[in-house]
């Protein structure tokens, strides 16, 4: 289920200034709609990950920045691999 900005801030106990920083650094890219920001399930999962990187892994901001960047490249590569496998007649999805 998608959320609006208010619900999102409440779910993560986030201050709006912190969210602004996350968005500015492109850690999070919520959907912009005529009715405001919309946080899809993937955005919520990503926010949860950022929190866990902070609390469970103990990463600092610079670390999180690098982790997210490399992780996104990794997922990008996995997706194209999956796509190629599909096109070559491999297992679907």
């Amino acid at each position: 289920m998608a959320m609006d900005k208010q619900e999102f801030l409440e779910t993560f106990g986030l201050q709006v200034q912190v969210l602004d920083v996350w968005i500015e650094q492109q850690w999070l890219i919520p959907e912009k709609t005529p009715s405001g920001m919309r946080f899809r399930e993937i955005d919520v999962a990503r926010a949860r990950l950022i929190r866990e990187l902070q609390s469970e892994i103990g990463a600092n901001d610079a670390g999180i920045d690098v982790i997210l960047h490399l992780m996104d490249q990794l997922h990008g590569m996995r997706r194209v691999l999956a796509q190629l496998r599909r096109e070559m007649g491999g297992p679907q999805a």
Binding site: T33, S35, E52, I67, Q73, G76, M77, L84
Partner: protein, 300 residues
């Protein structure tokens, strides 16, 4: 569950700091989002997290050490999904990053071509359609109107209601939906319009019907009567000798027709005796009814 001390790889005398350090080291290695290709990572991470949940809490650790419960009773509720569960798959999302293999896309070989093709498909997606609901009243549905929808973030959307709109009709505003990706345009706003029922009017296709009470003298003698329509009141002549059920037609006072013109408004009369009852009328009818044979309940 295995012995939580063993799972974390610490002695049972470990300090809180040692516990946290051991947990973090393992979490770093086993977190599913740091191991997107390891299907078993979720299970391994869960076990470590549960062990730390237990031992990291002073009270729970004390009770466990005292043998008050076994480890399996203390598991945290299962975590639903990790980021990796959303990042894969074919669904569009803005975090997909192709720079990890961008160099493989340069070149004239088949492989580069395959990669390039798979990229454009995703990059220029049209935005989502947004759905809204709006209620208007009967007069507005017939005459048309401009309504303003206030959106949750305080923004507004002006919606032009076409004259003649039917209950449940959806209006599509092109380009007023969510923004798209790359060169994909915005989606549309789809507004489902409800026409609130009016106690006076009933719509039937392009025609409108209304039941109008008339007095005994208006029905018997005829005369001008003010009739409401969807676009305002008009004066109509009730013919002499009208009866309950007599239906008169107001041409062009219905809903707009496709292709031009308007439907009609049908006015069904209902003869209403004076209220409170008029003793003069009663006296007159008593005299008048003698010898009259008209019985409306007989057939033919």
């Amino acid at each position: 569950m295995n012995n939580p001390y063993e799972v974390l790889g610490v002695a049972s005398t470990a300090s809180a700091a040692e516990l946290q350090s051991a947990y973090r080291k393992l979490a770093k290695k086993l977190h599913p989002d740091l191991n997107p290709g390891d299907k078993a990572a979720e299970e391994k991470f869960k076990e470590v997290a549960a062990a730390y949940d237990l031992l990291g809490d002073i009270d729970k650790r004390k009770r466990f050490d005292a043998g008050e419960f076994d480890a399996s009773g203390a598991e945290r509720p299962p975590r639903q999904h990790f980021y990796r569960d959303y990042a894969g798959g074919e669904a569009e999302h803005p975090y997909a990053d192709t720079s990890g293999y961008a160099d493989f896309m340069d070149g004239d070989d088949i492989f580069a071509d395959l990669l390039r093709r798979s990229q454009t498909k995703r990059a220029n997606r049209r935005g989502q359609d947004m759905h809204y609901r709006l209620a208007i009243d009967f007069a507005e549905s017939i005459a048309g109107a401009t309504k303003r929808i206030t959106l949750p973030d305080g923004g507004t959307l002006d919606v032009k209601i076409p004259a003649g709109l039917v209950d449940g009709q959806t209006i599509r505003l092109r380009g007023k939906g969510a923004t798209g990706a790359g060169t994909g345009g915005p989606g549309d706003a789809l507004i489902e319009v409800e026409v609130l029922p009016d106690p006076r009017f009933t719509r039937d296709g392009d025609d409108i019907s209304i039941e109008v009470p008339v007095s005994l003298s208006e029905a018997v003698l005829g005369g001008p009567v003010r009739i409401p329509t969807a676009t305002g009141a008009v004066t109509m002549t009730v013919p002499k000798g009208s009866n309950t059920g007599t239906t008169l037609r107001l041409k062009g006072k219905g809903a707009p027709r496709h292709g031009g013109g308007f439907g009609d408004q049908f006015v069904k009369l209902k003869v209403v005796l004076p209220s409170p009852p008029d003793p003069e009328l009663e006296a007159f009818v008593a005299g008048w009814a003698k010898g009259k044979a008209f019985n409306p309940r007989e057939e033919g």
